[in-house]
Amino acid sequence: GESVGLHLPTLSVQEGDNSIINCAYSNSASDYFIWYKQESGKGPQFIIDIRSNMDKRQGQRVTVLLNKTVKHLSLQIAATQPGDSAVYFCAESLHGNNRLAFGKGNQVVVIP
């Protein structure tokens, strides 16, 4: 459901379950994508990135999937923990232009 106040899409997930956060990006020419996690009162923290020549990349407990056909990016978090509660942002950039264009964010709430 939607979180009133922050007006961000909210995903509530039980501790230990897997989470999937989705993002639609805007520029079909973008060739670099990145996920950030932002906890309350802190700056965004790098999670994982992927370039357009790949469709999947795995990190520790996280996987990013890229579907260029439909301009869709997703972040999967395995075995979600209370410390994963945060707002998650996707961002895109175009090679040679380092400015990142951010999505509006998704709130993840982990229920112990």
């Binding site: 700056g43 965004p44 790098f46 380092n98 400015r99």
Partner: protein, 114 residues
């Protein structure tokens, strides 16, 4: 090693006053970025510095906003004649030179204009 640092962490000012926000990037990072984040929103690009090249100022919302980077390290973002709509979190990020776009963010400066 130390991450990106920003000061002050919080700033309250009166409408019409000027403010200066400071960013100290990660040592060795030649690229530096400023973003603005309004309440509950994503990040909005403001300005980008890369080495000695002319900065990309295309994201600055008005001529009241300016930024400089001295000696290729510390950067200052200045907002003149602040307005209430300038209230936001101002975030700085740094990265290695172009080709590695992973940007590492500081904690931000929370600006409130009364």
């Amino acid at each position: 090693g130390a991450g990106v640092s920003q000061s002050p962490s919080n700033k309250v000012t009166e409408k019409g006053k000027d403010v200066e926000l400071r960013c100290d990037p990660i040592s060795g990072h030649t690229a530096l970025y400023w973003y603005r984040q309004s309440l509950g929103q994503g990040l909005e690009f403001l300005i980008y510095f890369q080495g000695n090249s002319a900065p990309d100022k295309s994201g600055l919302p008005s001529d009241r906003f300016s930024a400089e980077r001295t000696g290729g390290s510390v950067s200052t973002l200045t907002i003149q004649r602040t307005q209430q709509e300038d209230s936001a979190v101002y975030l700085c990020a740094s990265s290695f030179p172009s080709g590695t776009e992973t940007q590492y963010f500081g904690p931000g400066t929370r600006l409130l204009v009364l």
